[in-house]
Structure formats: C-alpha cells, structure tokens
C-alpha cells in the first residue's frame, strides 16, 4: 500500500504531470504505453522502425524456388519467423508463409532442421 501511495505522488511532486495525463489522454496514446515511452525510463536504444523488405525492394512475387530469399525468414530450426520480428507487412507475410510451405514440400527448406 505504501508503494501505491508513494508512486503517484512522486511524479506529481517532481514534475507538473497533473496536466500531462489529461492532455495526452485524448491525444490517442494509450496510457499503458506511457511508462515505456521517452517519459519513463531513459531508453538507451532507439528502435529502428521495421519496414517490409518486400515493399521496400519491390519484390512482387514471392516464389518458393528462391531459397536464398525465403531462408532469411526462417529461423534456425526451420520455423517461419513471425512478422512482429521481421517487420514484413501482412500481405507479404501471407505470401511468404505460402512460399515457405511449398518449399518445404519439395525439400528445399526443412520442416525441422536436424539438430
């Protein structure tokens, strides 16, 4: 209980945040995201915004034959890497997943890598 009381009082005393939450609330930023933002702990790394490789390099057709390309989106053990990690857009991730599955079927990519 002591923590709960002390934490809200600390920001209000140190900074004039009383007007802060009210102004940022309608701004569209969810309140849960605030602590991780620049206002929270000083973040050392600025995370680069991920971009879809296929959109940027204008690769239209994701073909099951180009193993080199597909391999970039397959983890070490043969899993398809989720797009939250690779930054591939939804449309291309769908095509990519299809191509990887086709490539697996014709033994160009492993279903599960040998360990």
């Amino acid at each position: 209980m002591a923590d709960e009381i002390s934490t809200p009082s600390a920001p209000s005393s140190s900074r004039s945040e009383g007007s802060g939450p009210s102004s940022s609330g309608p701004g569209g930023r969810p309140p849960g995201a605030r602590p991780s933002g620049p206002g929270g702990g000083g973040r050392k790394f600025f995370r680069r915004k991920k971009v879809c490789k296929f959109c940027v390099e204008k690769i239209d057709a994701i073909h099951y034959r180009d193993v080199r390309l597909l391999q970039q989106f397959v983890a070490e053990r043969g899993k398809i890497v989720p797009r939250r990690l690779t930054g591939v857009c939804t449309t291309h991730q769908r095509g990519l997943a299809r191509a990887i599955k086709q490539a697996r079927n014709i033994a160009l990519l492993p279903f599960a890598a040998r360990y």
Binding site: D60, R65, Q102, N105, I106, A107, L109, F111, R114
Partner: protein, 139 residues
C-alpha cells in the same frame, strides 16, 4: 481451360543421365498428347535435400512450366506418383499469381509516369495559376 502450371519434381540421384532424359521425354510426350504445351523445361541439377526423402539425401531437380488443363495436371501427377525414379514432386498453379504481378507492375508504371512528369507539370500549372488570380483581382 488452359492454365499455367509449374511442376517441380525430384529424381533419385543415382539415376543415369540418359535415363533422366528418357523420363523427361516421356513426360513431355504425355503433356503434348493430353492437349497441353510445354513453356519451359529446366534441369536444376543435383541439389542437397533439406531432409531425407526415401533414404536419399540429395536429388536431381527438374522444373517444368506448362500450359495445361486441370485434368491433365491430375494425370501428370498420377504418372509422377507411379514412376519409380521420381521421389517427390509439387505442382503449383501460376497464372493467377502472374496476373497479379502484372497488375502491380502496370500500376507501378503509371505511378512512375506521374513522378516523371512533375518537371513539366509545374510550368503548365504555373501558367494558368496567375490568370485566375488576375481575374480575381480585376473582379
């Protein structure tokens, strides 16, 4: 209805070259007899398999692009399944994907035209622009 298909199959690695050619020739014969046509034939050569198939760790890849009916593709698949040297195959329909890519390319081409024009466009836009302003001023 004729559609574009891509058939890739793996032939066992211990097959002789002439036997492989014979197998491919037989397959070509089947396709042309069944009313299809061969667009391209590519021997991708020997390649390591990603996993063991029928106790083989590498295989001869052959890629065949054809125009054929769906029923003919079914027939070819059946033949591939029964032919002993073929250890794995996949057939993929390509025409819709090709159409989609062509569409994207067409859209991109029109966009490029727009981006190429601006050097000329501002001068054209600049000329009519003062006239309405002058009219407005006079009015």
């Amino acid at each position: 209805m004729q559609r574009t298909y891509e058939i890739m199959f793996i032939v066992r690695p211990d097959i002789l070259d002439e036997d492989l050619d014979k197998l491919i020739a037989g397959l070509e014969g089947n396709i042309t007899q069944g009313g299809g046509s061969i667009k391209s034939l590519e021997k991708l050569g020997r390649r390591k398999l990603a996993y063991t198939v029928k106790k083989f760790n590498d295989g001869n890849y052959v890629l065949l692009t054809i125009n054929a009916d769906g029923s003919l593709v079914g027939e070819i698949e059946r033949r591939l399944r029964v032919s002993e040297p073929v250890i794995k195959f996949i057939s993929v329909r390509m025409d819709e994907e090709e159409k989609r890519v062509a569409k994207i390319k067409a859209i991109r081409a029109t966009r490029k035209k727009l981006s190429a024009q601006p050097p000329a466009a501002p001068t054209a836009a600049a000329e009519p622009a003062p006239a309405p302003a002058a009219e407005a001023a006079s009015a």
